[in-house]
């Protein structure tokens, strides 16, 4: 019965949607008036506005830098998907790449025109925030997880306090704290860039959640592994880096991936504190009175963009889970 109902609902809506989205749609026009006379979707809004949606207020002539930034991040992400490249060195590569992308957008070096972070926006900003969150958050998460299991009471208390406080508040609160309250505590004249403040907030938020996942992995490692490592004379950090973490992180990788995906989606929150990520930039693009009627089409485009990123990450995570559970010892 429910199946029939669902089928009927699809039967009624799908043809309408198809005729709206494809048959009667306007794909290409310079003039928004063409859209007004058409009965279907106005995809032309995307061709017309895609530069603003994807790059925000980034200077038009320098958009190639944004494209290059996106390319660097996506190519590196794909490479990182192959297990044979997994090592601590890969993390260093990401660290360097993130710094490189930052410099590429900022300019002022290598003869690039300097562009203030307040002009940044769109997909490069979204990706940079995302990558920065994971690259900065992951080591912090590992340190917090280790600290929470530390035998030193002060370190343990500090880590538990940090994790529980951050986990106890919504991300928006952390971002507002970072953007509004943080400057109040700083001495007169010292200002930290708004982008950087948001990034720090997002890193802290990501790290607090990821730390608990990593801790779960640490708990899954048998005591015998610690003892064997100690018995061959390894120091704490040698033991942690070479024996415990490689095993623990492998166990929790699928769970960490879902946190990574969430970190990607969480980048949209920065538009609230006045940074123009791809969603914020789209909202800005739609302030044009000629095109504001076609917000739905623009947001569908953004929807698809986010879906492509998140779905591929989630598919990869599922693949990883199968892969790792098959060959636990490999």
């Amino acid at each position: 019965m429910l199946t029939l109902l669902a089928m009927w609902a699809l039967f009624v809506t799908i043809p309408d949607f198809i005729s709206w989205a494809f048959i009667n749609a306007v794909w290409q026009t310079d003039d928004s008036k063409d859209c007004q006379v058409a009965a279907g979707a106005c995809w032309a809004v995307i061709t017309e506005k895609h530069r603003v949606m994807l790059f925000g207020t980034f200077p038009y002539d320098e958009h190639w830098r944004g494209v290059l930034a996106i390319a660097i991040i996506i190519i590196l992400a794909v490479i990182s998907g192959f297990k044979r490249f997994w090592s601590y060195r890969l993390f260093l590569v990401w660290l360097v790449a993130t710094a490189l992308v930052f410099l590429l957008l900022l300019g002022g070096v290598f003869g690039l025109k300097p562009i203030g972070t307040y002009q940044w926006g769109g997909l490069p900003l979204t990706l940079l925030l995302f990558v920065g969150t994971v690259v900065g958050g992951m080591p912090l998460a590992v340190l917090l997880a280790l600290g929470r299991r530390s035998s030193l009471p002060a370190i343990k208390a500090l880590c538990i306090g940090f994790i529980e406080i951050i986990r106890g508040v919504p991300l928006i609160t952390v971002l507002f704290m970072a953007s509004l309250m943080f400057p109040l505590f700083m001495p007169e004249g010292v200002t930290i860039n708004k982008l950087l403040r948001a990034e720090i907030g997002m890193i802290m938020f990501f790290a607090a959640y990821a730390a608990e996942i990593v801790r779960g992995g640490l708990q899954a490692i048998s005591l015998g592994q610690y003892e064997a490592a100690e018995a061959i004379g390894l120091s704490y950090w040698q033991k942690t880096n070479r024996i415990i973490l490689p095993q623990a992180l492998r166990i929790v990788l699928p769970a960490l991936m879902s946190d990574v995906i969430r970190a990607f989606k969480n980048t949209t929150f920065v538009s609230i504190i006045g940074l123009f990520d791809v969603l914020g930039a789209t909202a800005t693009a739609l302030e044009d009175l000629l095109w504001v009627r076609y917000a739905l089409e623009a947001y569908i485009f953004i929807f698809i963009l986010y879906f492509v990123f998140c779905f591929s990450m989630s598919k990869y995570s599922a693949h990883l889970e199968r892969d790792l559970s098959e060959g636990r010892n490999l």
Partner: protein, 256 residues
């Protein structure tokens, strides 16, 4: 403390390499080690036996500080075990340990399991360490398994890899904590054979085991523990022929 505890070692020529003096340990209220005294000479083979929960494992785990004793003193090759990370690491490098559950590193190949210690701890170059590792694997008779992961090996093979790994740091003493207890019966012999060879080469060994055949063949001294104390310590001949203590007699009648 029992009067027999330290006695048999005196007839050994080797000067002491391990000394436990009046060692006591508690887990909460449970008195796990009671005034344990034991002296092991260089090249000596000591087999420790006793019922489960008698403190045998706890005792040898105190020797490389996997367990911390609360009273008494422990000396390894002249160094006293004190709560100082550097001292502890220095002492651990003198001691090889083999566990009941092997505890190989499952994410590393057999050869990487072996080279990790020398490369990180002694800072030996990777290729030299690998050559040394292959020698060790020859010694425990499984060089062909070098590139495999521990999970692909049988229990007996894993334990032999574990012995090879412990030997990589050229320890002065080898501790075995029930090395054959987790093995299927048909694999016990292959592990004991390796241990016997090691003993023949003159390695100082302390072995917690219930393999009395091995004890008879290899041991210079058999230590019987019960309820956290050393009840009896004697060379295999007298130990099996006429044990002095009633508890020893009872134990032997149960397992022989």
């Amino acid at each position: 403390m029992t009067p027999t505890a330290g006695k048999p070692t005196q007839k050994n020529a080797g000067d002491p390499i391990i000394e436990l003096r009046d060692v006591n340990k508690w887990y909460g209220d449970f008195h796990a080690l009671r005034d344990v005294n034991l002296t092991v000479g260089r090249g000596e083979k000591v087999v420790v036996c006793g019922p489960s929960g008698s403190g045998k494992s706890t005792m040898i785990r105190c020797i490389n500080r996997l367990e911390v004793h609360q009273e008494g003193r422990i000396f390894v090759d002249g160094m006293e075990m004190v709560p100082d990370v550097r001292k502890i690491e220095a002492i651990r490098r003198q001691i090889g340990m083999v566990f009941q559950s092997f505890n190989l590193f499952p994410h590393l190949t057999v050869i990487d399991n072996l080279t990790l210690g020398p490369v990180l701890v002694q800072e030996i170059p990777q290729d030299a360490a690998e050559a040394q590792a292959m020698e060790m694997l020859e010694r425990v008779k499984i060089p062909e398994q070098a590139k495999k992961y521990p999970g692909q090996l049988s229990g007996g093979q894993q334990q032999r890899v574990a012995i090879a790994r412990a030997l990589m740091l050229k320890p002065k003493v080898m501790l075995f904590d029930e090395p054959t207890s987790a093995l299927d019966p048909e694999m016990i012999a292959e592990v004991l054979d390796v241990m016997i060879e090691l003993a023949d080469e003159g390695m100082t060994m302390i072995v917690v085991t219930h393999e009395m055949g091995f004890a008879r063949k290899v041991a210079d001294l058999i230590v019987f523990m019960d309820d956290g104390e050393i009840v009896e310590a004697a060379s295999p001949g007298p130990f099996f022929a006429n044990p002095e203590n009633d508890r020893t007699k009872l134990f032997l009648s149960q397992i022989l």
